[in-house]
Amino acid sequence: MPKVLKAEGMNKCIGCFTCMLACAGVNHRNHSISKSAIKVRTSGGLQGKFVSVVCLACKDERACAEACPSGALEKRPGGGVILKKEKCIGCRKCESACIVGAVHFDEDENKPIICKHCGVCAKFCPHECLEMEETANDL
Amino acid sequence: MKVYLEVGSFLKRFTSEQTNLEINISGDKTAAEVVLSAGVPEEEIGFITVNGQKVDSDYVLKENDIIRVYPIIVGG
């Protein structure tokens, strides 16, 4: 069964950004958290709660993929999309189509940053905020 | 003979959350031996008191001694 990332334990989050450093490192070979597909933020300054902004792994209909004029976002089995870099023209339509703001944009590469649901962030989260969940293949 | 072991807030994780243990020992046993056999790892022991007095780890226990174990002092 395919797996998808679920960020359901964010109430336990300590804001260490390890997930972001790991995602950027493993998936983009980059030290910069701006390359991470998951973004941990505070809602209302540091006195607010930590929240994560990451692909929710939509099933059936994927707004980002629908918005893409060049077919660079293919449906991923179980939810979410796969980015075909060579097809992407960098138009940013997917970015605005995702209503949870989970499509981040890489200004240097001129490509969206798309969560692969690889589970690296979950592996490195020290406080069990993130988990990989098995899910039915919707394709 | 019977001795009592008290474990404070931090170290009780090593004694299945028990803070007050009654322990039967036979023969000469040191305070450190009792603490270790209760499950507190050596590197976590800061110091030990018996009946309120700080003792060396080789202190030999007597009937009804109350042993208390404290964690090491942490910091930068």
Binding site: I14, C16, I33, V40, P126 | G46, I73, G75
Partner: protein, 584 residues
């Protein structure tokens, strides 16, 4: 700069509002952090001018391994301390190191002073000096909020700022970093205040490819596993450093009521466990730290009659519970948090504030000072009086509070009571009365902090007291920490970062270092610091110990003043020997 053989320094001049960037190859051998900062302080210092002269520099630096390895989280600040009149060195976590790293600067040198209140914004492609006139007078949390609303970059931004105490040049004003972290000690807040610099906002978001991914990630994982598997995780994350209250109190090492006592009869009411039960609401971490030792405690405040309450959250740790707890005889966790909140808002160093008030309380009881001067009846356990007194310090309410705002040493010079002004090298004492290590350590330490060489920790681990061994250990640790602070690891993880681990980490990001190199770096940095101290007029032979240290027994029993001075001599000799040697 990572993957480059130079240090990238951003120079900011507040007088001319001009900036300059230099790539300093010559600083590369100082690794980063405190090494680079010491060198930059040494060359920019104006020894002939006053410590608070606008021309004096403030240096910030990140380390050689900042952010990209677990628990390597700190930024160092170096300056001329208005409190001790000599070396100012202070560390803060939060997000600052990551943002500087990803903005592309290894170090910042700030000189000059602005004619009007200003704040600075720094990003990878811009630096701006902005109008902060309307922010002048705001508390640390308010100014944080307004800058956060005005400036972009949420999530990858760090905001450092001063409160009213810094503006009013209180000698132990702190700098708040990202709400819960601080450059606490030695008065950096006052130095920024003297430059009319209210805040700095840094955004870091540059593209930074990893050079040798395989090597790097292998080491990263090993360290990550070590950090999360070992007990440092449970120790610092669970109840955190406040667990110290219990063992220190039981062993007679908890400075209480201006160190008139070494045991606090109400210790259990301010213990880590009590805070965890009654006040703890969440935990947080600095960027890149899986441990998360920051404990946030909450108390309820009635702001109006008729059940009008608000919940107030502040961060707490051991040093605060000591300084604003046992040292002032405060008997409940809620009251300690109330004091922390006032100190936070005003932007004071909690440790110095508590220790200064301890002196004032005793001085009042001994009639060295009067109620006309203190305005409030300072007495151990009187939280309300202390809250008011803390405000009076921050605003220098009268002549007495203006003097108190210069530290316990200064106040005792003027009003008497030096025997119980609990300072080491003019810096207020930390919360350990554990033995000779806790006395000599901060006295000889370059910045007079327990963190210089961990003397209290040596007291604890030394089976039998041995003068030679103690001095040797302190000396060795001081040098080792110079090296660790060039990386800059959080010292809570110092056991994880043994030499082997450090070499693996650095070499995976393109350094080419040996164990001997690390030795040499540590010594090179220590020597630089000692040269700076000398320039500032420090002489290790002129320090004194407050008598109280030898009256109240320590965790290792009664201490002897003669022995302390003997140890001091021994240490000074070691320093002289090292300074006479050529650089390795």
């Amino acid at each position: 700069m990572i993957y480059e053989k130079y240090i990238r320094v951003l120079y900011l001049d507040l007088t001319t509002k001009k900036i300059r960037i230099e790539h300093r190859k010559d600083l590369y051998s100082y690794l980063g952090g405190v090494g680079v900062a010491s060198k930059l302080l040494e060359e920019n210092l104006k020894p002939e001018l006053d410590p608070m002269d606008p021309q004096q520099p403030v240096i910030f630096a990140i380390g050689a391994a900042s952010t990209i390895f677990p628990v390597v989280t700190k930024t160092v600040a170096m300056f001329w301390s208005p409190l001790t009149g000599e070396l100012g060195e202070s560390y803060a976590g939060g997000r600052m190191a990551m943002t500087l790293f990803l903005a592309g600067y290894d170090a910042i040198v700030i000189t000059g002073s602005s004619s009007k209140p200003t704040y600075i914004t720094i990003s990878r492609n811009n630096v701006e000096f902005k109008d902060a006139r309307a922010f002048w007078g705001l508390s640390c949390d308010e100014v944080g909020r307004v800058v956060r609303e005005r400036e972009p970059g949420g999530g990858k931004r760090s905001i450092i700022r001063i409160g009213p105490a810094g503006e009013n040049l209180v000698s132990y004003a702190c700098v708040c970093v990202d709400t819960y972290r601080h450059f606490g000690r030695l008065g950096l807040g006052a130095v920024l205040g003297s430059k009319k610099l209210k805040a700095i906002s840094i955004v870091g978001d540059r593209d930074l490819p990893i050079k040798n991914f395989k090597d790097y990630f292998k080491v990263y994982q090993e360290i990550y596993n070590k950090v999360t598997d070992t007990s440092i995780m449970s120790k610092y994350h669970d109840a955190g450093t406040p667990v110290n209250i219990e063992p220190l109190n039981a062993a007679g090492g908890l400075p209480t009521k201006n160190l008139r006592q070494n045991v606090f009869e109400h210790g259990d009411k301010i213990s880590g466990e009590t805070f965890a039960h009654k006040n703890l609401v969440r935990k947080m971490a600095c960027t890149g730290c899986p441990v998360g030792c920051i404990h946030i405690g909450q108390f309820r405040r009635e702001f109006d009659k008729g059940h009008e309450y608000e919940a107030v959250s502040v961060s707490y740790d051991y040093e605060l519970l000591f300084a604003l707890g046992s040292f002032l005889g405060i008997k409940s966790s809620d009251e300690v948090l109330q004091l922390i909140e006032v100190v936070e808002k005003l932007g004071l160093d909690a440790m110095s504030t508590g220790v200064v008030l301890g002196w004032a309380t005793e001085a009042l009881a001994k009639n060295l000072i009067t109620l006309e001067q203190t305005l409030v009846p300072l007495a151990f356990g009187n939280t309300q009086a202390y809250i008011t007194a803390i405000e009076y310090i921050a605003y220098k309410k009268n002549e007495f509070y203006s003097i108190l705002a210069q530290g316990a040493e200064k106040a005792s010079e003027i009003y008497g009571g030096k025997e119980f002004a609990m300072t080491f090298g003019k810096n207020e004492m930390p919360g350990y009365h554990t033995g000779y290590g806790s006395v000599i350590g901060p006295t000889v330490g370059a910045r007079h902090s327990h963190l210089c060489n961990g003397g209290y920790s040596i007291d604890q681990s030394m089976k039998e007291f041995d003068k030679e061994k103690l001095v040797e250990k302190l000396f060795k640790e001081e040098k080792e920490r110079c090296m660790l602070n060039s990386l800059i690891i959080c010292l809570f993880a110092r056991k994880v970062y043994d030499r082997e681990t450090i070499l693996a980490a650095l070499n995976s990001i393109d350094y080419n270092l040996t164990n001997e190199d690390l030795d040499a770096i540590g010594e090179r940095i220590y020597k630089t610091k000692l040269r700076i101290k000398k320039m500032m007029g420090y002489d290790g032979k002129n320090v004194r110990f407050p008598k109280r240290l030898f009256e109240t027994p320590s965790m290792s029993g009664q201490l002897d003043e003669k022995v302390a001075y003997e140890l001091l001599d021994m240490y000074n000799k070691k320093v002289e020997e090292m300074m006479a040697k050529e650089d390795a």
